[in-house]
Symmetry: C2
Subunit: 331 residues, 2 copies
């Protein structure tokens, strides 16, 4: 059983009381240089560092932030996790990564985070089901929550998102200009409001250009295989002439799956027979093999904003940031 030195022990070694030791470790506390020196010496010898658990218990601040993730199939999560942990750590915070899945739902996760007294909860690209929202245990008293990279459906919970409206207008403008007229839209988990919102804007902008019909294709989850699978179903049941001429996918990973299937299983040329558009600008989508036209989310800025909200440097208020259309060979 491992044993850490305590302030009391350091105090005995340095000939002062435990309170003086605690002061030595508190920046700006009133203490003589001499006492501090002796204490630091003793602390070094005993390998002492304050027990953060005990500190948190009395200050009610843990410097821990829960990060909820439910979709590990999307490689875009990785850059988000990277910047998020980096920025949090720069602020002296640490991320508790919580995996939402069939065995561990949002309610579990939130209650658990609350029980651990995290300072805040960040929902990274994850969305609630309605029943979750109504759980009465999740009332006030919860740690402050923030949604990153997805719309918040919860009142009082701010979100930092990439503006779907602006993004889809840019995309539709681009597609229309290139002459596409028979658009399709592939959603990942169609029950989610974000998916519906993006589809709504997509349809809306096409309507403004005189195109009323959107072909809907839906994949189970946001994964490469599901994108491939749903593209396969669609292509099997349609003939060359009647197909969409451009397929907009809710994210890059679906788009890559769809593109691959179209090319390798149906011999279609991209973009000549079918154009494909993604969303996220996943690194590999940009390689010559795919050349995927996509929309880049301003990942770093989004993360910066959430972290500012978490640390209280900025008021918690939903923010939509514009992204950037990245045109490549797939359109």
């Amino acid at each position: 059983m491992r044993k850490r030195a305590t302030a009391k022990e350091v105090g005995e070694a340095a000939g002062v009381s435990k309170w003086t030791v605690i002061r030595a470790f508190k920046p700006g506390a009133s203490i003589t240089d001499e006492a501090k020196r002796k204490i630091m010496e003793a602390a070094e010898k005993l390998n002492y560092s304050p027990n953060l658990l005990a500190r948190s218990l009395s200050t009610n601040v843990t410097h821990q932030v829960a990060v909820l993730v439910d979709d590990f199939a999307n490689p875009q999560k990785l850059p988000f996790l990277e910047s998020l942990t980096e920025r949090l750590q720069a602020e002296g915070l640490v991320a508790m990564l919580i995996n939402i899945n069939n065995h561990f739902d949002h309610v579990h996760a939130l209650l658990n985070a609350d029980q651990r007294l995290v300072d805040a909860i960040i929902l990274l690209g994850t969305a609630f089901r309605d029943e979750t929202l109504n759980d009465r245990r999740l009332g006030p008293g919860m740690p402050p929550m923030f949604v990153l990279a997805r719309d918040s459906q919860i009142e009082g919970v701010p979100a930092v998102v990439c503006d779907a409206e602006v993004g889809l207008r840019d995309i539709v403008d681009h597609l229309h200009e290139r002459g596409y007229r028979r658009p399709g839209f592939m959603t990942g988990a169609s029950a989610l409001s974000t998916a519906l919102k993006r589809r709504h804007h997509f349809a809306e902008f096409w309507r403004q250009k005189g195109v009323d019909h959107i072909v809907d294709i839906s994949a189970e989850r946001y994964s490469h295989q599901d994108g491939a699978e749903s593209a396969r179903r669609y292509l099997q049941k349609t003939h060359a002439g009647e197909r969409v001429d451009v397929l907009m996918c809710e994210n890059d990973i679906l788009a890559i799956g769809a593109m691959e299937t179209a090319r390798s299983e149906f011999g279609l040329r991209v973009p000549d027979d079918i154009a494909v558009v993604g969303f996220d600008n996943y690194e590999l989508g940009g390689t010559p093999a795919f050349g995927l036209t996509t929309y880049e989310q301003p990942c770093r800025e989004m993360v910066d904003l959430v972290v500012e909200m978490v640390t209280g440097k900025r008021e918690g208020e939903t923010i939509s940031l514009p992204g950037k259309l990245v045109v490549r060979s797939s359109t």
Copy 2:
């Protein structure tokens, strides 16, 4: 300021002492059904749940495990993180994700984890520098550490890895059988002992087949761009006839970068002009666009084993698991 109900308050509401409340929440504790019922009722009303921080302080068990990651460019981290968090959560543990980077080194991370009294530390595919090992603060008294998906260079710190020797023998056998005779090896961060070990085995098995010369190519980091960049440098300075006929890359993401560059910038056909092999079996490497031959690590089993070690269900001892050669069109 949010306020959680305490055991004392629940006790007052239920007409018992705080100790009885605590017992009501401790499985197997001695308490009457009647008392438990009243307490649970009061707890529900007050939205009470035990404060895990306070509990940890006295039990010295936090149910938190630090997971150190330093390479977010490798998409393979995502499945590892997914299974790891899932398995840890199934055991009632939670992962603290710590990003090791230029601003936050291993020593920082370990001391921080220790100060938070984590139950264990998992190094996920990350390696120490020598100076880290010698830091005297990192002596005994640290939480138990485990290395996952990379060799451990630290005495007393067990690792769970995919067997590099078996893997590389399978790969070399396969390549030799296909007739390749001029092998090259691309390392990511060549300073790391794991990289050297893989390269060593690669060279060794070729030597047994009578091939003594291995071309070395090194990338800065394990990223798609660095793979592309270093392949570009190599291909620029060599002529068609003198080049390697097969390039083994330390992981899939490097391999994809190299393959893309060879094809799109140098017009080489894979595998005819140059064959490419990766390591990890990253999902997208398997798509028709790349068809990357690779070696699959038994990710789930590896995670299962580390988690068993963390929970003490298995003795902490370095384990090498065999993986599986996945042959596709790139060789």
